[in-house]
Symmetry: C7
Subunit: 101 residues, 7 copies
Amino acid sequence: MTATATKIRPLGDRVVVKPIQKEEVTKSGIVLPDTAKEKPQRGQVVAVGPGRLTDDGKRLPMEVKVGDEVLFAKYAGTELKIDDEEYLILSEKDILAVLSE
Amino acid sequence: MTATATKIRPLGDRVVVKPIQKEEVTKSGIVLPDTAKEKPQRGQVVAVGPGRLTDDGKRLPMEVKVGDEVLFAKYAGTELKIDDEEYLILSEKDILAVLSE
Amino acid sequence: MTATATKIRPLGDRVVVKPIQKEEVTKSGIVLPDTAKEKPQRGQVVAVGPGRLTDDGKRLPMEVKVGDEVLFAKYAGTELKIDDEEYLILSEKDILAVLSE
Amino acid sequence: MTATATKIRPLGDRVVVKPIQKEEVTKSGIVLPDTAKEKPQRGQVVAVGPGRLTDDGKRLPMEVKVGDEVLFAKYAGTELKIDDEEYLILSEKDILAVLSE
Amino acid sequence: MTATATKIRPLGDRVVVKPIQKEEVTKSGIVLPDTAKEKPQRGQVVAVGPGRLTDDGKRLPMEVKVGDEVLFAKYAGTELKIDDEEYLILSEKDILAVLSE
Amino acid sequence: MTATATKIRPLGDRVVVKPIQKEEVTKSGIVLPDTAKEKPQRGQVVAVGPGRLTDDGKRLPMEVKVGDEVLFAKYAGTELKIDDEEYLILSEKDILAVLSE
Amino acid sequence: MTATATKIRPLGDRVVVKPIQKEEVTKSGIVLPDTAKEKPQRGQVVAVGPGRLTDDGKRLPMEVKVGDEVLFAKYAGTELKIDDEEYLILSEKDILAVLSE
């Protein structure tokens, strides 16, 4: 996570994720299947929105936090580039799981 | 933001955004990826609606305010031109994140 | 607005709008982009429904009123002709913004 | 409205409408545009259902009543013939407006 | 209605209907349009479900009862044959109206 | 129903059904139409889930019970084989009716 | 279930399942039909999310637990590989039934 990434404040239940490339060494030792070669499905959370606002005006708490290593649905989210690094903005519902050490 | 832009009062959870072109210098230093060349994904909020009206007759508060620099989903919104400048009207749910300095 | 237009009582959250042609002088000075040439996106409200009825039997208040100059989504609504003048019937959710002087 | 038409009791929020042909003289003086030639968009209400039943078991009141001249969405509803006259059964949400004298 | 038909207990808001052929004499004198030739749109209710169960665990009351002559949406429902007679199982929301004498 | 079938505990509002072939003698005497030849639409319930869980955390009661002979929508459900016998797992909303003796 | 699998914490109502190959001996003796050859429909639950969060901020309890042998809809879920073993992440609503001994 770079200093720049902290400049992004996602809205609602959105999360900014820095994708982790397959060849990188990861703390959980998880390797993605071949079908995921084109687009990574794993990343680190660098920014988290305040949560989805329900019709009652309540914010639903987020399940992920900054620093979490997550798996997310392929093709989910919107790509963006900050200081030459690529990020994704995802809805939390596109995040499948958190990987713990 | 021009004086004219303030003449627009968006309905519901809509937001009027002035797109920021890629070559402009921006306060957050964020550069959009090549795939975003045709249509900008970044802009400045120039007008904000009163919020979505729920079935209980309550207004849900808006997360963005006039002056915010925002990222929004590509192809979202409706283009319009005011005094020869181009704007977009978006639903707030098409706004992904606010960029802070 | 003609006297005839007042004969239409829209149901629910519907609104009757008299489209404003691009070449007309408008009070807000707003000009629509070229892509809007075929179908106007701007108009004046001539009749307003009582509001959408929720499942609780409540009417949700309308945000627009007769006389408002509005922007509406292209291709929205149903065209009709009253005394040789063309109108549109729109759902209020297809109205993007009100233009104020 | 014929005596036979009163034999139809629509369910829920449905309405039976007798379409009015373009060449007929109508009380409101409204003429439909050319694009409506194939299928009429105007008619007179001859029967009205009890209203939609909500999940709370409440009936939502109908906005139209027998005798109303209405505009309805083109292609909406189901055609039926009673004593050699053609009618349409529509959901009230396909009725756009009531035309008053 | 045959004795066999009473053996069917529809679930939820479903209704078993015995289609009435066009050439039969019907008590309401209603004749269906030519476009309905292939598949009848009229029938007699022979069995009625207990009503749709809402999320609150309440049963919504049915609007039709055994013996009612009804109009239903073309192509709606599932055909079945009991003792060589054809029936349809429909959801009540596919029934448009009840025909009374 | 075999002893093995009781080993399956369906989730939510799902039901396990043993399809009944057309040529078998059934207690209700119902024969399915020719269009149902490829895939049976009738079966006997061998296992029933606890019911759908609503957003309030309530279980909605099931309308069918083990032993019921049911009609279900063609093409509904997922096939599975237990001890060389074929079964279907269906959502209760795909069950149209219960057949009683 | 390997030690690695416990490193995955599914979000919401998601479940991590280790597919069971057809040729393996299983405790329930259930064999899947031929149409399931390409993709297994049976597996063992190795990790369970906290449950779906409703709009009221409540967690709905999960019906499956770690160790359960389950049947799941073909083509459901997202594949992933952990320490060279294949897993699926599914929403609980894609799980059809639990198989008990």
